[in-house]
């Protein structure tokens, strides 16, 4: 790392006049928008997550408290451990580890055992962030790296069956998740074991809009209520702590492609169901909008969003997984440097003329 003069932003001026106490030399501008700091941005994300966490607690009760709490605590612990190992100043106060933990926790099923949360958090912070050099340098979304790690390591604990418990006092978790139901229905329809007329019944609640929208369906902790996600997500966009271009792109391409897939008979769910069902919205507003692993330019952000939405639908329709947000975000993260390069904005007044 080149350490240049700019790093020493402030140096006491030599030869300052006696009458000029503590004259300090620093580059302009000499004012800053005091309200904006990295920490403040992360706190904003936590505020935005509040309705989502609240809804998760309402639906999944203490399972949600346990899962999200454990992920936040272990993420912070992992952050402390890895920054220490790298001999770097501890920056837990910036809140980024807490955000990673909360998002990871909200993306897990209610039943995930404690070691899944702990290992997932360690992988998120260690592999997802610290290995690249810490906050600001990671290529992939840390929470999704952690989730992918545990998903591949503990396929059974995180598979479709993990979401369902036949005997439970919580009625919601006795049903399959909407996307799993849809996947099964698509397979049954293809095999001819279910007739098209019976399809809506097979889908159960996943076939209705309002339960899906409000969150009266099974799923990962944070994804069930589209309503809560929209409230928190719009807050983030209005505060400009998340760029609206990304969720706009995800929803747009997700809606269009899901509509096309539905029309082609590839999926029993309509475009609207695909958008509000599963974690498409949660991913659009809270995961894909991670500033570090998304593009810098407005145009790049929109293209990134379009890509995430498209890959989500492709995975939902064609892959063996019912859901595709995690892989979609990770895949598009890898394209971000290219997107940045392709979308360098045209300066006002045009590009710098080349010297002849």
């Amino acid at each position: 790392m080149a350490q240049d003069a700019p790093d020493k932003a402030e140096a006491t001026a030599a030869g300052a006049e006696e009458s000029a106490p503590a004259v300090r030399v620093a580059p302009p501008p000499h004012l800053s928008k005091a309200a904006i700091t990295t920490r403040w941005m992360m706190m904003d994300v936590l505020i935005g997550l509040a309705p989502v966490i609240g809804m998760a607690v309402l639906i999944f009760r203490w399972h949600a408290i346990f899962q999200v709490g454990l992920c936040v605590v272990s993420s912070i612990a992992a952050e402390a451990l890895f920054t220490r190992m790298r001999n770097q100043p501890l920056r837990i106060g910036d809140g980024s580890a807490a955000v990673t933990g909360a998002i990871l926790g909200l993306s897990l099923p209610w039943s995930a055992p404690w070691y899944v949360a702990v290992i997932g958090s360690a992988a998120a912070i260690g592999l997802g962030k610290a290995a690249f050099g810490g906050l600001g340098y990671n290529i992939f979304n840390p929470a999704m790296v952690g989730r992918a790690f545990v998903m591949l390591s503990f396929a059974r604990e995180l598979g479709a069956s993990a979401y369902v418990s036949a005997q439970s006092e919580l009625e919601i978790i006795t049903q399959a998740t909407p996307l799993t139901a849809a996947k099964k229905l698509a397979a049954d329809l293809a095999a001819g074991t279910v007739s098209a007329a019976d399809a809506p019944m097979q889908l159960g609640r996943a076939g209705e809009f309002w339960p899906l929208f409000v969150g009266q369906v099974n799923g990962s902790l944070g994804e069930t209520s589209a309503l809560a996600v929209l409230i928190g997500g719009l807050y983030l966009c209005l505060r400009r702590s998340a760029s609206w271009e990304i969720p706009a792109g995800v929803v747009l391409s997700g809606f269009i492609l899901a509509g096309a897939a539905n029309a082609a008979g590839l999926t029993p769910l309509t475009a609207l169901h695909h958008v509000v069902g599963g974690s498409l919205l949660f991913g659009a507003f809270f995961i894909a909008t991670d500033p570090v692993s998304s593009p810098l330019t407005p145009k790049g952000k929109f293209l990134f969003g379009l890509g995430v939405g498209a890959v989500i639908v492709l995975l939902r329709v064609f892959s063996g997984y019912p859901e595709g947000v995690m892989f979609a975000v990770l895949l598009m993260n890898a394209v971000v440097p290219l997107l940045n390069r392709w979308t360098i904005p045209r300066p006002v007044g045009g590009p710098v003329p080349r010297k002849a």
Partner: protein
């Protein structure tokens, strides 16, 4: 001159895209009427006060000079002569370091006991009395530009570009619009505001002269909407003259030539070019007033209005001060520094330079002196860039500041170039909003320097 009979109704534009709203803090000195600084015991006239070639001294040491005598003559077209700002005796040539880091020769002048102009008489000579707005036909365009050159006029907004260069007609690039810049978008600074309020007549008169010089069809005086009184004063002074007063949205950096051109006319100045390239000339209000004085009274630019403000100044003021007076004297006249004073800046907070010594002479481009307290200045603990893109959102030139800055830090010249680093005008919006407190302006300056070096070899 032919005036177009049918003109398309142009949508009234009032701003540009990007930009920031820093706290204005103009209230500190806004109500302070312009005071005339008592003639200092000594002034030191820098021989380079503009963008361009330095002057050559024309007086020997221990020579008697009168107020307004030339002490340095220009050595090229893009250059402006400098004049004695007091009557007195010259001393030996010495060298000083200006806030921008340039070492320049200075001609010291010890003031004589008797000064031809001081106090109220000086103010009236600079701003008072009658300023004609008609009968300007007897002034040939060439003569106006010539008068601007002889008076040593430079842009008083801060960049100090020699005015006669702007006012000299170029047949291949006709000028349609003359913009008189009264935006004064830098926080704290109120020098232009007081000038517009207290002396609107010479501004309008100078605007008409500049219009005649460049042959522009329209003259628009641009004032931000946080200065309604100034706009009012100018409007009544401009009545019946054909000069339009346009009120713009308050936003930094509205006063940048390129932003103003976009904001008012919707015309983009080509990167690396001048407003001239799109048929526009931009002249600061102070420069316009000085032009009127040069043409109608034959007086060179020896004094200017300087704002001395900030939480670190006991009595913030707007001063009519001679060029060459030391910053120390300006501060002393304003009651000195307070205990909390932490940083002295030549200019405003967004683009001004910090200075390490107060023993620096004010130049024609010194629009203000701002002294910050610890509470006012930017905190500077840098954290990692999280690529939030706020700098991209606020960049008035539509650049990607963080990319340019970080590329410069890594000495990646190609990347600086790919992201159009050299187009940056260093307005500081990016660093102002950066949540990670990256010194973006400084890094981009480094990048521009690296680019320049790479292109040279």
């Amino acid at each position: 001159m032919t005036v177009a009979v049918t003109r398309k109704p142009v949508k009234q534009r009032r701003t540009f895209s990007g930009g920031v709203h820093p706290p204005e803090r103009k209230g500190l000195a806004e109500e302070a009427a312009i005071e005339v600084l008592p003639t200092p015991a000594q002034v030191r006239i820098p021989l380079l006060q503009h963008l361009g070639a330095p002057c050559k001294e024309t007086v020997k040491p221990r020579t008697e000079v009168a107020l307004g005598d030339v002490v340095g003559e220009s050595t090229g077209f893009v250059s402006a002569p400098v004049h004695a700002s007091v009557s007195g005796t010259t001393g030996r040539l010495s060298v000083t370091t200006l806030p921008n880091g340039r070492h320049v020769s200075v001609v010291p002048i010890k003031s004589a006991e008797a000064q031809p102009l001081s106090g109220r008489a000086l103010f009236d000579d600079v701003f008072g009395g009658e300023w004609p707005t008609d009968g300007l036909e007897r002034h040939e365009p060439k003569q106006i530009a010539e008068a601007a050159h002889e008076a040593g006029l430079v842009g008083l907004g801060g960049a100090a570009f020699p005015t006669h260069v702007k006012l000299t007609r170029n047949e291949s690039k006709p000028i349609q619009t003359l913009l008189i810049n009264g935006s004064e978008c830098e926080p704290y600074l109120t020098a232009d505001y007081r000038l517009m309020l207290e002396a609107p007549a010479p501004v309008i008169s100078g605007a008409l002269l500049a219009q005649r010089a460049v042959g522009a069809e329209d003259v628009i005086v641009c004032v931000e909407d946080n200065k309604p009184k100034a706009a009012e004063a100018l409007s009544s002074a401009a009545e019946g003259t054909g000069v339009e007063v346009r009120v713009l949205k308050t936003k930094y950096p509205q006063g940048g030539e390129k932003q103003l051109t976009v904001a008012v006319l919707g015309k983009e100045v080509p990167t690396g070019g001048l407003p001239l390239d799109v048929g526009v000339v931009v002249v600061n209000v102070g420069t316009a007033a000085a032009l009127a004085r040069a043409v109608f009274r034959g007086k060179p630019l020896t004094h200017r209005v300087v704002t001395v403000s900030g939480g670190g100044i006991k009595q913030p003021k707007n001063l009519l001060a001679p060029v060459g007076v030391s910053y120390q004297e300006l501060i002393d006249y304003c009651g000195g520094l307070t205990k909390e004073a932490a940083r002295v800046v030549a200019g405003g907070p967004m683009m001004g330079y910090t200075i390490g010594s107060l023993d620096i002479p004010a130049t024609k481009g010194t629009s203000g002196l701002t002294v910050f307290t610890h509470g006012e200045v930017r905190r500077s603990e840098e954290t990692a860039c999280v690529r939030c893109g706020r700098c991209v959102d606020v960049c008035p030139l539509n650049l990607v500041p963080t990319k340019i800055g970080l590329a410069a830090r890594a000495h990646d010249v190609d990347l600086v170039e790919r992201y159009y680093g050299s187009a940056c005008m260093e307005c500081g919006c990016c660093a102002y909003v950066c949540p990670a407190s990256l010194p973006l302006v400084q890094l981009i300056r480094l990048g521009k320097l690296l680019l320049q070096r790479a292109n040279r070899s």
